[in-house]
Symmetry: C2
Subunit: 392 residues, 2 copies
């Protein structure tokens, strides 16, 4: 169902971008899965497989014989051709018949999500197309794949909303579990068990989903929970997400563990927390179709620095979709590793995280990650924004 | 532990093959995972990451700042360098310092398992190396990666034995569940539940693990179980495997459902089944270090044809490891799609499936898949070979 909807969307994107043919070329997709495949098929393929979509609405699949029936069942392809010995003949016949001006394939230096074609498969395809004089027609499908992933359909947004809600419930449950003496690992296990009980897969590798950091001098991010125990006076933060119907949530929440006799967090903790809350809301207000990612990043980054904290050593936010890190356009600074991602214009239908962070010396890291949907003229929260420290 | 062992093995393979530097270059490994990564790291990385192993035993990792601590923990790298803005500077500094004659990277037209480098990342690396005049040193690491995957260590073989045993137990349990009227889907659910109860992940995508085919005129292979019910007089076959400690099993078993009053299967069913059993054992006897995959394939293929059946439209067997389809060398015919895989010499330490099939008209498909380990001078079964039809 989703595949048919996305393949139809691909046809209209090809028309709009004036790209006449998009070719996804893959093999053994369990091993080197092209991230575009989930929009084109319902499962894995084994042998060399070509999935062709044209701007005129022609849709064809060429696959090893035992993969044919599962591809036919998807119902998205006008023609499914099977082979036993090799893809060369049926693939070249199809390209000859379509005779496209350009053949857009899934590679990109800038965008990993558009870069599913391996170098060996590129060479193989180039060699085959050279036989019929078409090798020079190969171009990057970055714009096609970016548009297809970032323009979320109603069904995709619905799935993401479910994943967000499910993670929020588990964050709330965790607040009742966090207490002095409990370790990061125990908190993580509690959350993973809750996800399992609710029937949700984790949004990223289990080793660090959730990440849990308590107190000062931790690894800071992307690190597995340790045996370190929660102490009074610590800031605790967690990064967690689940999948619903194949789509992810990715959220962070911040907690403070009261000292004996303390009625609220110390002023410096609130100051850090409030800087994060305000940076997120300013960025959300700047996030609208036509804005550029680095401009939105700068709004939050500037607020954090003006509030007296060091700037965060990462992008403000990334897109979310079938992966927790998804899409090309990024709300990030113009650093080398982000290439042109922060210069892609923002479009309606994109789903972003907003996740600035500040370090409160001696206490820990205050960091919140919200998720927002870009709409005509602005953007709205998909998550319920955290505006108060959770006091433990 | 496994990572340290495999990185040490990589150093000795580089020496043996006279390749002075192996570079694995990846980013967002959740999205485009290089299949070599599991031998080099314990988890995923986010930003551009270079993992360097040299024939002199130098081991270095260059990664985004938040990935550094997890890589340090692996204990396999002499030096781990983190960066914030981009990998360009630390990567070029390392290459300048090592100054290798060649830089072997993970691409291969022939072997998907050696083809983890995406085309966009190849272009990015080529561009960076061109700045210091080293782009022409890039070569394929196919021989390095193939050797590393196929020369299984004692720990890897132990894990595969556990995965084989676990799957065999579930096949046995399934024999008690198969009966007339039960559907392919119900049998599959029974087996998946059994795997879950035993705490094992499935060896490939759940949609078709197990595959279950009852009677004639089925999709034949790689297809999801359907609502078709088992009938008396049907051959039932199943393809199933689980993972243990990250390593797979991949087995097929064949059952016959007796007609009322029948004491055994009809002669034509036995004839097909026996042809498969004998083809497997002949192939196993031909499988030894130094043999070529297409020769071993031909032994089984010839026996099937000489027994009066059509030849199977696929390879006799593939390697098994962290993926159910693993490795480069293949026991297959010299068909286009298999490229040079059937011409790679067989080595001790390889684990192969042997899986010929025959169609028995009006009854179904007799197919057995065993797993074997190549040793000095021959090969031994890792699975307990099926030599009798299971009569239901």
């Amino acid at each position: 169902m989703l595949v048919k909807e996305k393949v139809e969307q691909a046809v209209s994107i090809l028309k709009e971008l004036d790209v006449d043919c998009w070719l996804t070329f893959t093999r053994e997709s369990q091993i080197n899965g092209d991230p575009s495949l989930a929009f084109l098929l319902d499962g894995d393929v084994t042998w060399h497989t070509a999935l062709i979509v044209t701007s005129s609405g022609d849709t064809r699949a060429i696959a090893g014989r035992y993969d044919v029936k599962a591809i036919e069942d998807v119902g998205a392809y006008r023609q499914v051709v099977g082979y036993v010995e090799g893809i060369r003949e049926p693939l070249l016949a199809a390209i000859r018949e379509i005779d496209p001006k350009t053949i857009a394939v899934n590679f990109s230096q800038d965008s990993e999500i558009c870069d599913g074609l391996t170098h060996g498969m590129y060479l193989a395809l180039h060699g085959l197309l050279a036989e019929i004089g078409c090798a020079e027609r190969l171009v990057s499908a970055e714009r096609v794949v970016s548009a297809l992933r970032q323009r979320k359909t109603a069904a995709e947004i619905q799935a993401i909303r479910r994943a967000v809600r499910a993670a929020e419930v588990i964050f709330d449950e965790a607040a009742g579990f966090i207490r002095p003496g409990v370790t990061e690992q125990e908190i993580a296990r509690f959350m993973q068990d809750a996800a399992k009980k609710a029937g949700h897969d984790l949004a990223w590798e289990a080793r660090a989903c959730p990440s849990v950091f308590t107190g000062p001098e931790t690894a800071g991010a992307h690190y597995a929970p340790t045996g370190r125990a929660v102490e009074r006076g610590h800031i605790v933060n967690m990064d967690f997400g689940v999948k619903a119907l194949g789509y992810c949530s990715d959220l962070q929440r911040t907690y403070y563990v009261l000292e004996e006799g303390e009625a609220s967090a110390p002023a410096e903790v609130w100051k850090g927390f409030d800087a994060v809350v305000e940076a997120i809301d300013r960025a959300r207000r700047a996030l609208k179709p036509g804005a550029l990612g680095h401009e939105v990043d700068a709004v939050a980054r500037r607020h954090v620095v003006e509030s007296g904290f060091e700037e965060f050593p990462h992008a403000l936010g990334h897109q979310v979709g079938r992966f927790s890190h998804d899409g090309t356009a990024l709300l990030g600074p113009p650093w080398e590793k982000y290439a042109r991602k922060p210069f892609q214009p923002i479009e309606a239908g994109m789903v972003f995280t907003l996740e600035p962070r500040v370090t409160v010396p001696g206490r820990g890291i205050a960091t919140i990650e919200e998720m927002v949907l870009v709409k005509q003229g602005g953007s709205e929260y998909l998550s319920t924004p955290q505006v108060e420290l959770v006091l433990i």
